[in-house]
Symmetry: C2
């Protein structure tokens, strides 16, 4: 089923209309549309229709969502958390496909129909996590698009063989090369970045680098990333995830970093941290940096928080940013929808004829109100197919 | 109905037990309790039972909860927001009792059965807001205890007649004298504080002062408050709400402020701000300062955020504080329950025999998990009476 008529909805909280989806694409939006014979028709109950959420950064292989509670008892240091995870996953009784599938269904139920997931690649894991996530996706492909980052969570230069496996991952379904804290994990910022840029450039892959490193160090590394992006002509294909250093930068430092980011066409994905300053996403976006928000680590060996609900993440951004006016609240919503789609180069994201027939229905008054109230998603549609209803995944028939 | 047997629950997520409430008090907690004849029996479905949430700071007279969306279009400055509110409330088509009742029912549905509410007192409002909130409470008294702060929102020294009205409010149902930003609103820290301490001391009322003033200024005012508290022997009866200045204090400043707070027995109530540093509540509590969290302003002319859900507020505290271990998450829960009750001197808060027969059932695995997942409240009981069920207020029969 990829044809669907949804009647009686308010696209982007505007006037009531019907939305006709044919062959997986939006064919028409307007009043009193007629279904083709035999076409499924859903009454939208005057809900707001929005284009889907974009989950720009999760770790499907790490997830413990949907499983018994996992108590975290590990120090809050990056190396300790890395080692702890490896140890725990060694004996975890649930497979990667099972665990990844749990989170995929949750993300879809919350209205995200595109996911960028990092998967850990290392000499120990080899490509098992990649294969596991792909297996989970195989069963959910009708509901969600997934793009995969080959991610050197355990370190790359310090774990010989990792870079080769990351490159191999690109031949087996990953499309993006990851990186992580080039200074403190690999102990060699230039070496770390040279390696991942080399792989990505040769294989025509994108890049998405975890950068938790703060202050001057993080800002220095953004400079290194910008240099390499420009030198290799990779503008528009590189993302820095987290970029905590932008949250504490002085006005001058921020201005310089923004020039580097825009000059190299580098995007920023933030998970909206709770305990440290959030990078100034609205200002970055205003000044031409492509930005998005995402869930990141959630309910895993690292972090008890999070639930894959991007509408909640939009609200958290708005709450942390003291968004008070309707325009500010809607700007926060954009960070989890339209801007995420733009940053990940998704085509057909929107509610206009010609766009993907993918959308989310939310009962509410207006876009600002649904951000603060975060109502259950009434319906999630992926290319003309109902994939979640009333906050719950709909099983394939 | 003030007798109730709740079977099959896990008090504080411990072993399964029944809870017998007689004459509004917990009479017994244990396995296989028998109901007295004719007693209502509720199956707890193996949910976790906790003592109720305490809503230590809201503004029942300001609330627009449950009404059509109110778009905020006023600058984020205290004076602009005060004047804007007065102007809007002049023509609001909903009465104070109606609006206050909406939020009271919401708070109860979320599991708070005790509310401390500030009400605006001014020569323009006179005691109308107090009377309106009391009227709303009259209809909900079976479900919730309410204590009221006579609050000089518009200023006190700059609005002659306000102090006299605040004092009069104490004769008509308020039990606490409020204050607000003594430096910037009244332009006279010592004068503002002298006036409210004089009223409270003569009338044997408590004190609860809004202190948004930051940095050195706020810390200076905490010193002034501590001096007056000790001089008048009011230790244990004074609260500073918000105390943003504690969130940015240096180690030395914080240490000095903690000495002042503990020396004068002054408590701190924080609404867990999203956009500025949260006062270090866990450290304050560890060092002997009585602390609690609260919703504060929500869905009104000031602030679009918030929903009166204290479990969500506990989660926000845990998220902002990077609480990761079970013990840390439970400590965050305590801030909205046990510690709130302690700070407000509530007697009988707990699940032991002899305590108030008031409790909340939440379906979940353990206390840490319910903090991060914030499940709907399955049942809310006030002194043996079911007052909310499945996240919704239960109307009196």
């Amino acid at each position: 089923m990829t044809d669907l008529l949804i009647t009686n909805v308010r696209p982007d909280a505007g006037s009531t209309a019907d939305i006709l989806i044919e062959d997986g694409l939006i064919a028409a939006v307007g009043p009193d549309l007629a279904p083709r014979e035999g076409m499924e028709v859903v009454d939208g109950n005057n809900a707001i229709a929005i284009a889907p959420f974009v989950e720009a950064h999760v770790h499907l292989d790490k997830i413990l969502w949907g499983l018994p509670w996992h108590s975290i008892n590990v120090p809050d240091s990056l190396r300790a958390m890395i080692d702890n995870e490896v140890e725990i996953r060694r004996t975890l009784p649930w497979s990667v496909p099972e665990r990844a599938g749990n989170l995929i269904r949750q993300c879809v139920a919350m209205g995200s129909t595109h996911i960028r997931s990092h998967v850990d690649i290392s000499p120990t894991y080899r490509l098992d996590n990649l294969h596991g996530v792909l297996e989970a996706w195989e069963r959910t492909k009708h509901a969600v698009d997934i793009e995969i980052v080959a991610f050197p969570q355990l370190g790359m230069l310090v774990e010989p063989g990792t870079a080769e496996l990351m490159e191999a991952a690109l031949d087996e379904g990953a499309t993006i090369i990851g990186g992580i804290d080039p200074a403190r994990i690999d102990g060699n910022p230039a070496g770390h970045l040279d390696t991942i840029f080399d792989i990505a450039h040769r294989k025509q892959a994108k890049i998405d680098i975890h950068l938790h490193e703060r202050g001057e160090l993080g800002l220095y590394e953004i400079g290194l990333i910008a240099e390499r992006t420009k030198a290799l002509g990779m503008q528009g294909r590189v993302v820095v995830s987290h970029a905590f250093c932008l949250g504490t930068a002085s006005r001058d430092e921020l201005s310089r970093a923004i020039d580097q980011l825009t000059g190299a066409g580098i995007g920023i994905i933030s998970a909206v941290p709770g305990d440290i300053p959030v990078p100034p996403l609205f200002e970055l976006a205003d000044r031409g940096v492509r930005c998005a928000i995402a869930s990141d680590s959630l309910r895993d060996t690292w972090n008890p928080h999070g639930n894959g609900d991007m509408l909640e993440r939009c609200w958290l951004l708005s709450w942390r940013g003291n968004c008070r006016t309707d325009a500010e609240l809607v700007a926060a919503l954009d960070m989890g929808t339209r801007r995420g789609a733009d940053l990940l180069d998704l085509e057909g994201h929107g509610l206009e004829p010609g766009c993907d027939g993918s959308l989310v229905l939310v009962e509410g008054e207006n876009l600002a109100q649904i951000v603060v109230d975060r109502p259950k998603r009434a319906l999630v549609v992926k290319r003309g197919r109902v994939v979640a209803r009333n906050g719950a995944w709909v099983d394939e028939k």
